[in-house]
Symmetry: C2
Subunit: 355 residues, 2 copies
């Protein structure tokens, strides 16, 4: 149990109005959570303080050697005014797996949850209520030793910031166009692909710019070894419905084990839709697109929840998804997941946690 | 030509004394160089200012998505009191290649060199003179947009800090023991391995800790695809002298093109020692170690210059390098490179640049 000190802001900011349009990740609330780590002392000095800049030595290791991790989850307001978190235990578990992979000290799960609840509670008034909006929660840890050799840091800051958000993709629930990358690689087995750490995202920027310039909103990665197995999208896992069966790449060490991915698999199973986690080659998808069995494609992620895909491009080939619109399974998944998140659909799986 | 503003420190720190022992990357000089970038405005506001903390929003992209790059080079004092940089053009070229790979705006080469010279000049008194010491120069760029979506930042800071340094490895010129990693992978072709960016270093921490715990000072990486070709060491390129020929892994897209590596190849060629850049499998090395033709092994890097390797471990196998001490080619390379760097050996190749 953390002893969290609370320093309330004396200069509260203007909370966006109910009808103000919200983008993603541009405005932040009045408070943030901070906790420090020092070898020998452990995690200490937990506090909720006014949202404020971070002051670091220029030699701080995070600026040089990328020892940084993050998570992303959301808080929602229900019609009854309750605040719900969606499967925070999954994010916390994953955070600690990331920590282990990149030599950051883990955080006790109950302390992590307490920290999230404390800061969300402090800024509860910031949770937007309009359809499709939520309070995005960004926990992250940075290495702060002022030292220029490569080794794990002895000091860290664990920070949680909050941002009221609207749709992640300007397209909303309209199908996005996806670029299948065949030149650059995001991650490889044995590397850091399954960890949520900056290095994976910086590796993706160049492809993303290339895809955007060609009119595509997201990049789909292939594996780094054989360059033919489907991995994941920039910030989403990917699902295909082919001839009645839902398939998604198995967790192989190089893709992020998404919380939304896990939830979608569980829901499909509950609904009796056959679902398989397996190696999927790009040739399989190409074939399905061409013989008319590629019924639906969608990405899953905290930011967009479910993002239907209408069109994929792989080198010279363009693959169209059956009807090009949002398919029935994608729609049902979106309605169910967002329904559970906002308390509109009964949470039979025990996924939500009240703040 | 940059217009560099100079704000001199009013609180100069104590410069380490001639006989004070120096470690690596722990103390910093009185000044630092800073320049900002903003889309539309370009690089601007070049300044040399007192060494000071960096103040960033918690949402600054560098903390989340690893968009950061760095370089490392050194300044030396000659017996005549001149200040020399070693091949700064190579570091600057590489910096811009890194920038391009990770979508950071490039910096005109002459401006980059001018910036290095300006800050080194300001803190020239900090350059240590004892054998084996130097002033380590760390240019780096960080992405500063306060935004939580994955895309290249629109704002950056370019910073140069300076640190008087002694030996990088406590072993000095004594042979180090190297652990050949067969579980984790640092980088793969198509990824960011040839760029000098944090993501490659964070990926290496876990192996490094494992190797250290087993009594090894460095990790040697194998390729991420076939897991059998030699790549490089944590912060060094690697060379083997086998049966009279010097071999080193070719630049394949996943290893850093080291400046010291390039210099060593050039010197070997000048001396008429056969040198080959090629794919080298771990089996080749294993065989050479066992048939007695593995004459010398050394790492090359700015920090340690030449670091002889006496012993390599690959799973259950231990490979001893012929005499286990520092070999004649390693020694001659060390003497020549450090000699040129400090003005003791004639710089026939035009590698040094006076500040
Ligand atoms: C690389 C990557 N893959 C997948 C996901 C989806 O994971 P989740 O459903 O937990 O948000 C994300 C985003 O969080 C991501 O960054
Ligand atoms: C991964 C890696 N490889 C090799 C090197 C050696 O490069 P250089 O000789 O330019 O210092 C370094 C250090 O700079 C490095 O970080």
């Amino acid at each position: 149990m953390l002893d969290i000190r609370f320093e309330k802001t004396t200069a509260p900011k203007q909370i966006p109005g109910k009808e103000d349009p919200l983008t993603f990740g541009t405005i932040f609330t009045d408070h943030m959570f901070i906790m420090n780590y020092e070898t020998g002392k452990g995690w200490h000095d937990a506090r909720v303080v006014p949202y404020q800049p971070i002051v670091l030595q220029p030699s701080a290791m995070v600026f040089h050697y990328g020892q940084e991790m993050f998570e992303g989850l959301k808080a929602y307001k229900t019609a009854e005014g309750k605040t719900l978190l969606f499967r925070p235990d999954k994010n916390i578990e994953r955070a600690n797996r990331t920590n282990e992979r990149i030599c950051i000290p883990t955080i006790p799960e109950e302390d992590f949850l307490q920290a999230i609840k404390a800061v969300v509670k402090a800024d509860e008034a910031w949770i937007p209520e309009k359809e499709g909006t939520s309070l995005y929660i960004r926990p992250f840890i940075i290495a702060t030793d002022p030292f220029l050799g490569v080794r794990p840091s002895d000091t860290y800051m664990f920070i949680i910031i909050l941002s009221p958000v609207g749709a992640y993709y300007p397209e909303g629930l309209n199908p996005v166009k996806i670029w299948i990358e065949d030149e650059y690689v995001r991650a490889v087995k044995g590397g850091i692909g399954e960890a949520k750490t900056g290095g994976n995202y910086v590796a993706s920027l160049k492809s993303q710019v290339k895809a955007h310039d060609a009119g595509y909103s997201q990049v789909l990665w292939l594996d780094g070894v054989e360059r033919k197995y489907i991995e994941e999208v920039g910030a989403m896992n990917i699902f295909f419905k082919i001839n009645g069966t839902v398939v998604t790449p198995m967790l192989n060490g190089s893709i992020l084990p998404g919380v939304t991915r896990d939830s979608v698999i569980a829901l499909c199973k509950e609904w009796g839709i056959p679902v398989e986690e397996k190696r999927i080659s790009i040739d399989d998808i190409f074939e399905a697109a061409h013989n008319g069995t590629l019924e639906e494609v969608w990405g899953t992620g905290t930011a967009a929840v479910i993002s239907p895909v209408g069109h994929l491009r792989w080198g010279e080939h363009v693959m169209q998804v059956q009807d090009g619109g949002i398919g029935p399974v994608s729609q049902k998944l979106y309605d169910t997941v967002t329904g559970i998140q906002t308390g509109k659909v009964e949470d039979t799986l025990g996924w939500t946690v009240e703040v």
